[in-house]
């Protein structure tokens, strides 16, 4: 009987675990600074966004879940832009042309950056795609997410709201 009463709790735990923030050695540390080329032209330096909540979405052009996540992020970006949210898509494709073509097809409003050498990907310990890194207004990594199959409102949106209110 006691075991039965635990079953719903266990099920609930299993459901929430995949959506929870992935363990990353970066969480709690200052976000490594970088300068990358933007698909739209010009260069972007992360440290120049200090004071804003920043989302880095690492993706690849051959990753299908990435496309869905970028579209989802685009909606989030449009909603929270006035509150001080900055979003960057970071492509880790080897081929610049392919990455540019993918970025243009994605049609997102936020800047898409190119990391063909994967130097930034390595610094952020990216081991799976898509991965979302959330950085607070002080430049500290607060959450790292790998949740390509999330449906409904992703967990990171609630966390973003919390960070935007800080």
């Amino acid at each position: 009987m006691i075991v039965r009463s635990f079953i719903p709790a266990l099920l609930a735990l299993c459901t929430t675990l995949p959506a929870a923030a992935a363990s990353s050695p970066l969480v709690g540390d200052p976000a490594p600074d970088f300068t990358l080329r933007a698909v739209a032209g010009g260069n972007v330096r992360l440290s120049e966004t200090r004071g804003q909540v920043v989302v880095l979405s690492f993706y690849g052009s051959e990753c299908n879940p990435c496309r869905a996540q970028l579209a989802q992020l685009n909606g989030v970006y449009r909603t929270y832009l006035p509150a001080g949210l900055t979003v960057y898509g970071v492509s880790i494709d080897d081929d610049d042309d392919e990455a540019r073509a993918f970025a243009q097809r994605a049609g997102v409003a936020f800047p898409m950056l190119l990391d063909p050498s994967k130097g930034v990907g390595r610094e952020y310990s990216i081991v799976a795609l898509p991965t979302i890194v959330i950085i607070d207004r002080g430049g500290v990594v607060r959450y790292v997410h790998r949740e390509p199959k999330s449906t409904g409102e992703p967990v990171y949106v609630q966390q973003l709201r919390r960070l935007l209110d800080e």
Partner: protein, 183 residues
Amino acid sequence: MATVRALTLIALVACCTAFAQDAPPDAAAAAPAVDTRSLDAQVQDLKKEVVDLNRDLFILEEELLFPANTQVAVFLSMDVGEFFALDGVTLKIDDKEVANHLYTPREAEALMKGGVQRLYVGNLKVGPHELVAFFNGKGPNDRDYRRGATLQFEKSVGAKYLELRITDRQRKAQPEFEIKDWE
């Protein structure tokens, strides 16, 4: 009527008593203010000490990592920048890439306002060396522009300072790139 007056009087007296109890004595009120100021001064002193310590540690680290007899530092400056919008610089010393920097519009603007950037600091042996710098950006008429500049220099005992300079050549309406050796 007398009852109303009596009640009003009692209420007033009660009010005054309550205020007198709530209001702290003058001396007691002044003391915390002095304490706060003193604490604030202490915090400021502590902050200054931390900043000084940080500066000393930075200097010490620089001296240890780049001793004066082997140190080479390369700076970048930009004068006017009317004919060239800087995008990136790649630096090679003795055919080995030592620095690669991409410039954001804000950084380029800072350089145009007179800022000087320390692009690279490292160590070199005494003797002849070659420095090659590649400048990428947008040139006149918003065209992609890539230019290089080379300098053969002699590293002697003592720190070596080199400056990459981007200037406008008004007569030709073109940017000019040069490397200056600060003896």
